[in-house]
């Protein structure tokens, strides 16, 4: 069965049995191995990708269900972010996972990033507000991590949300660097 889909902004075409998992289409013929398989039964979220902007488990999605739809994988995150050049090709979200220690063994990371990306699009891009701690935890509730204990992942997403928000530099410093309140922002800006 021939399926036409858009992957990370490019029009692609695959010819596969219809129930081939999107995960296998991505990692095989489409050559995108960033998306990982953990459990393969929708429990762990490692294989999370965006389908028409919504996070889904690529291990439970049939390639046939993707006809005419758009898929975003972890490989598509850096390119989508206008500021990627400043962070060595990583999106701000990816960079925050590096600086805040949100990634350890790396298997859950692509799925975590995609689930977080969907949250940031909804809250930061869509409503120009930071997600709450509860919202962050619910957004990644379907993503299991056996290394970090989750706190650093939550911190990474919160940090990325702060960086990504369209706020003035002065407001950003005031909100994110508590010591700036005491010392004033003159030296920092």
């Amino acid at each position: 069965m021939i399926v036409r889909l858009e992957v990370n902004g490019e029009r692609r075409l695959v010819d596969l049995p219809p129930l081939t998992r999107l995960l296998d289409a991505l990692r095989g013929p489409l050559g995108l191995t960033g998306t990982k398989e953990g459990c393969g039964e929708g429990e762990c979220g490692s294989c999370t990708v965006l389908l028409d902007g919504d996070p889904v488990n690529a291990c439970l999605v049939a390639t046939a269900q993707c006809e005419g739809r758009s898929v975003t994988t972890v490989e598509g995150l850096g390119a989508l972010d206008g500021r990627a050049r400043e962070t060595g090709g990583l999106s701000l979200l990816q960079a925050a996972f590096v600086t805040e220690g949100g990634a350890q063994c790396g298997i859950c990371t692509p799925g975590m990033l995609i689930a977080a990306e969907a949250l940031l699009r909804e809250t930061v891009d869509g409503a120009n507000r930071k997600p709450t701690d509860t919202e962050i935890r619910e957004a990644v509730a379907g993503n299991i991590c056996r290394c970090t204990g989750y706190q650093r992942i939550v911190d990474s997403i919160a940090q990325a949300a702060a960086l990504r928000r369209r706020v003035s530099p002065a407001d950003w410093v005031r909100e994110n660097l508590p010591f700036a309140k005491a010392e004033g922002t003159r030296g920092l800006l």
Partner: protein
């Protein structure tokens, strides 16, 4: 995975003309169970692109077409305002990833999470009729207090179904011969001696919509779910309640429980104990005791009796604004 054929249909008549097939929509249950070889359909009929995704949730009437996604129904402001128990049950179900694929019809058709059902190495009367029930005298911590027996004690897994039972919802079932409306509470069958037959769907018949009537009771409704972890887990016990109050008295009430029954369990005795009573903590506690009528705890799930009683009290107290 076993071999099967796959056909995508693009109209409802084409779907209904497809005799002998298993309907495939979001796929979140079916792909998983086919991979485990718990289900081995010979023919899949993909109905995912049928135009059955409308959500109508006015104060008077709820009508959700079967292919609406869980995420879209949960995000509907009209559903949250007029039928809060439905939005709450959906948001407490599965993960964002699953809710973005899974449909309302598929949610109601999901299979039990009983580990004996989900493992082909174990006996299970639901999966292989006549093979026995591993859970009845086995590991049954997550199993049913109500509606089971030696042949099967598997709980029904859907949170949404529990919420809908508390709204007296009906399902529209459509076949090539026409449509019929069936109360959701009568849609599901008790396991009895043939646990493999779970509902009244005729071969080739399809759930096309969920319907409920609105009003003060539906608008004052709540879903409380107790589980082993804070999110992304099936219910140990859940309670859906819809309460109509008048001058501090309980005018009418609906109570249904999840995680405790072989189908979504209506707590009828507790309801009648509460009708006409003052909306006080004492009255709620009295009614909650009646919710255990007919309970048959197994070796591993006795804790669910007190958990159910307390969850009923908590749910009613929150709805009634008492503490």
């Amino acid at each position: 995975m076993k071999l099967f054929t796959y056909d995508a249909v693009s109209s409802l008549p084409a779907a209904l003309a497809a005799r002998r097939g298993t309907f495939f929509a979001g796929g979140t249950t079916l792909v998983d169970l086919m991979k485990l070889e718990v289900l081995t359909p010979e023919r899949l009929v993909d109905i995912g692109s049928l135009p059955l995704t409308k959500i109508e949730a006015t104060p008077a009437r709820l009508r959700i077409e079967a292919l609406a996604r869980m995420a879209d129904v949960a995000a509907s402001h009209d559903v949250l305002r007029n039928y809060p128990v439905v939005a709450q049950a959906l948001l407490r179900s599965a993960s964002p990833q699953i809710r973005n694929m899974a449909t309302i019809g598929g949610n109601l058709m999901q299979r039990t999470r009983c580990s004996y059902f989900r493992s082909v190495a174990e006996p299970c009367n639901k999966r292989v009729p006549g093979s026995g029930c591993g859970a009845f005298e086995g590991d049954n911590r997550s199993h049913a207090l109500f509606g089971g027996g030696p042949a099967c004690v598997a709980t029904h897994a859907s949170d949404l179904a529990v919420a809908l039972v508390a709204l007296d919802a009906t399902l529209t079932l459509t076949s090539a011969k026409g449509s019929r409306d069936v109360p959701l509470a009568e849609f599901y069958l008790l396991p009895g001696s043939s646990p493999s037959t779970e509902n009244v769907l005729a071969p080739g018949e399809l759930i096309t919509a969920v319907n409920a009537t609105g009003g003060p009771r539906a608008a004052r409704s709540l879903y409380v779910k107790v589980r082993d972890r804070a999110s992304f887990e099936f219910a140990l016990v859940s309670v859906a309640a819809a309460l109509a109050l008048e001058g501090g008295m309980v005018k009418d009430v609906r109570l249904a429980a999840g995680g405790v029954g072989t189908k979504p369990w209506r707590l009828a005795a507790a309801e009648s104990a509460l009708r006409g009573q003052p909306a006080t903590l004492a009255a709620f506690e009295g009614a909650a005791k009646r919710s255990l009528e007919g309970a048959m705890p197994l070796s591993g799930n006795g804790f669910k009796t007190s958990l159910l009683e307390r969850t009923v009290v908590k749910t009613l107290a929150r709805l009634g604004g008492v503490s």
